[in-house]
């Protein structure tokens, strides 16, 4: 398999924008306004994703959305609601399968101005997103005994390890830590660990360490500054990425990116659709905005990304114009306007 590719992105980047449900549309328009103020060379293509039944009865995303993503290779997604008993799997799962989004990346950086008991957090969790404990293979052996299968494959482990080291190198991170439980799950996590060690041999400039999941949890809540890049299988990644999001202030301020095969990447906010405040101009666009900043960096547009991030963090640090969840009582539009003003002042 080929190593992670780094194409040079054209200066005019097309991004498929999926506003989502609930507060999705308003935070998406907030992000578009801010990008306009920053004069970022991004052309937005808005698409909707709702599950439709394709030929052969399999659920899939609408063809125009798929076509747009295949062309642009970059997506920005707001929150999607997962209807219960809709008969189709969650949209997030569909997107993941359609584009083989194998790596979920969450940079967790403490936000100055949004105080949590933890300061100076600056780590990245990279989670394998396709297999592991979420294989969905479960059986009832006999009545009262259920077996869930956790699948670890050589290919997926190698792929995620390679991505983790590439990410570390491209983002000037100094160390990668593999998180595992190979003392208990000798073969499965043992395989994952072996692959990480093998890939580490090719990246001698990056320090590689391994740590048990429980030790990571223990140390994370005592001193999160000791961690840099963490790479791990699916379930541990799910738990740890949410744990780290909690350290910096929750899902409302945490960015997230999903990297797929063939250079596809979808950046998203990981909070819910918040139907209770949808349409009331109360939403906080920070999570989606920071995901968009991640996207700019992925595309090589670091200057724009830094400018927008600085404006956003400065606004939060200033504490004058904050949305309700950040402790203020400004509207979403006011918060957005403030960030735009700062960007324009910077130019």
């Amino acid at each position: 398999t080929s190593p992670v590719q780094h194409e040079t992105f054209p200066l005019r980047g097309t991004v498929t924008l999926i506003p989502g449900d609930g507060i999705g549309p308003e935070i998406s328009s907030a992000v578009m306004k801010i990008f306009e103020a920053a004069k970022a060379p991004i052309r937005w293509e808005e698409r909707n994703v709702t599950a439709i039944k394709g030929p052969g009865g399999r659920w899939m995303i609408p063809p125009d959305a798929k076509e747009s993503m295949d062309r642009s290779k970059i997506g920005l997604k707001g929150p999607l609601k997962t209807p219960i008993a809709a008969g189709h799997p969650s949209m997030n799962l569909l997107l993941r399968k359609t584009f083989d989004l194998y790596a979920n990346v969450r940079p967790c950086v403490s936000i100055e101005g949004y105080k949590t008991p933890y300061t100076d957090v600056n780590l990245v969790t990279i989670r394998e997103n396709t297999e592991g404990e979420y294989s969905g293979i479960e059986h009832v052996i006999v009545d009262g005994v259920v077996q869930s299968i956790k699948l670890i494959t050589e290919d997926a482990s190698r792929r995620i390890a390679e991505y983790a080291f590439e990410y570390a190198r491209n983002n000037q991170r100094t160390s990668v830590t593999a998180v595992h439980k190979a003392n208990i799950m000798r073969m499965s996590d043992g395989l994952f660990l072996r692959k990480c060690r093998e890939v580490a041999e090719n990246y001698k400039d990056i320090k590689f360490t391994e740590m048990y999941l429980d030790t990571v949890c223990l140390n994370m809540v005592q001193d999160p500054t000791q961690f840099d890049v963490l790479v791990m299988p699916n379930l541990y990644g799910d738990i740890l990425s949410d744990l780290c999001a909690g350290l910096i202030g929750g899902l409302g301020v945490t960015p997230s990116g999903n990297i797929g095969a063939n250079g596809v990447a979808i950046f998203e906010s990981v909070h819910g659709t918040a139907p209770d405040i949808a349409g009331l101009d109360m939403a906080n666009p920070t999570a989606l905005l920071l995901s968009a900043v991640m996207m700019l960096r992925h595309m090589g547009l670091h200057d724009y990304g830094n400018k927008i991030q600085t404006a956003c963090f400065d606004t939060i640090r200033d504490k004058k114009v904050l949305t309700k969840d950040l402790g203020g009582n400004s509207k979403c539009s006011e918060f957005t306007a403030e960030i735009c003003r700062r960007i324009q002042d910077m130019a």
Partner: protein, 392 residues
């Protein structure tokens, strides 16, 4: 017996190809099914001769031996009527002989105090974790950990008081793995109705006994619908029998997020094995670290006490800087189990007084004291309490 053979014959009918894989699962859990049916209501009598109890001691690796030596020192000093039968388990050997000796010793004495036994990765995957083997052989199904903030320890969150009850024998720790195709490894996570009911029952009984108001089940049933779904269902069933206790559930990733931001919403938590590992380590970190929290593993017939986070502490072994608090508090839990309440209270009081009032802390909680200094101070406090002691 009937249940066991019915289960085996069913497995042969279900799928002959899977016989091998299912067979393992069935063998492991056939015994669980039968043991539940033939559950003995009589616990074996305590190993007590001439008023003195005998307790198995497994030093383990890393800091285990030195901490347990300190425990013995304190016990000898305080004239605690407990004799230790030391069983050494060598983690480097591939054979199970020494492990079998340890298990036999615990069966004989009924109680054990242990350090963590290291699991070396360099050995073949067929060499299972010794600690895990001990827990499953003795059917120590409940791991109980009580996380309490100590006033003398600086932490980000104050006044935490959470009890964690973790299923200790099945779940992700079933050690059933195989490589079906080269490069593809499958690991089986087993959840059974019997064990889930058992642990839920234990949790609610303990909650009621300690006067706790709420039990939260931690799960990931939105993804593992059958496995964790079964666990959740069993918890709900047991909860219906305890109307005085509120029952709710939370998904494990949300739980960890809530623990680091709002830990005071939690009271008693019950969960399967792996989530228990994560949550107990998060909570231990919240109250000050691995050196402070004791843990207990209870079965119907046996009990094994150790530190809650089960660390080997290889990097600090032999340097006299390990924190003896967790192991000493675990030994107090053991004394409580032996009904030696006075001794337990005396030692616990001395340990907590050293922690909270004298400010003599070891390095892990930001102090400069050595392990021996802390232990000496504890013994001095015990002596000043007026109890019968040997020479300092």
């Amino acid at each position: 017996m009937a249940a066991h053979s019915a289960v085996l014959s069913m497995s042969k009918i279900i799928n002959p190809f899977w016989g091998g894989r299912l067979g393992n699962t069935v063998k492991v859990f056939g015994t669980t099914l039968t043991s539940h049916r033939n559950k003995t209501l009589l616990t074996p009598p305590p190993a007590k001769y001439g008023g003195r109890h005998t307790v198995t001691l497994i030093p383990g690796d890393g800091i285990g031996p030195e901490l347990l030596n300190h425990v013995r020192e304190v016990f000898r000093f305080s004239c605690v009527p407990v004799d230790f039968e030391v069983v050494n388990v060598n983690s480097a050997l591939e054979t199970d002989d020494d492990m079998n000796n340890a298990i036999t010793a615990i069966r004989r004495n009924g109680i054990a105090l242990k350090g963590n036994i290291e699991t070396k990765h360099t050995m073949a995957p067929s060499v299972k974790s010794r600690n895990n083997l001990l827990r499953t052989s003795l059917d120590l199904y409940a791991n109980v950990m009580h996380c309490q903030s100590l006033p003398g320890v600086q932490t980000r969150h104050k006044n935490i008081d959470i009890m964690i009850i973790r299923e200790n024998t099945e779940g992700e720790y079933s050690s059933l793995e195989h490589e079906s195709v080269s490069g593809v490894v499958e690991s089986l996570k087993i959840i059974t109705r019997n064990n889930s009911l058992r642990i839920a029952d234990y949790a609610f009984k303990l909650a009621r006994e300690k006067g706790r108001r709420r039990v939260t089940a931690v799960h990931k049933a939105n993804i593992m619908k059958l496995g964790d779904g079964l666990f959740l269902q069993c918890c709900r069933e047991v909860a219906s029998g305890y109307p005085d206790i509120t029952f709710d559930s939370m998904i494990v990733d949300n739980t960890t997020m809530q623990l680091v931001s709002k830990p005071h919403q939690f009271d008693v938590m019950v969960m399967p094995n792996l989530y228990g590992n994560v949550v107990s380590n998060v909570c231990a970190g919240l109250v000050g670290g691995p050196g402070l929290v004791p843990g207990a593993n209870y079965g119907n017939a046996y009990a094994v006490f150790e530190t809650a986070t089960r660390n080997t502490g290889k990097s600090i072994a032999g340097k006299n800087i390990a924190n003896p608090t967790a192991m000493l508090l675990a030994s107090c839990m053991m004394l409580d189990h032996l009904k030696l309440y006075d001794h337990a209270t005396m030692i616990r009081h001395a340990v907590l007084k050293t922690m909270n009032e004298t400010r003599l802390h070891t390095a892990d909680i930001g102090g400069q004291g050595t392990t021996s200094e802390v232990v000496q101070t504890i013994m001095r406090i015990i002596q000043s309490g007026g109890q019968l002691t040997t020479e300092l």
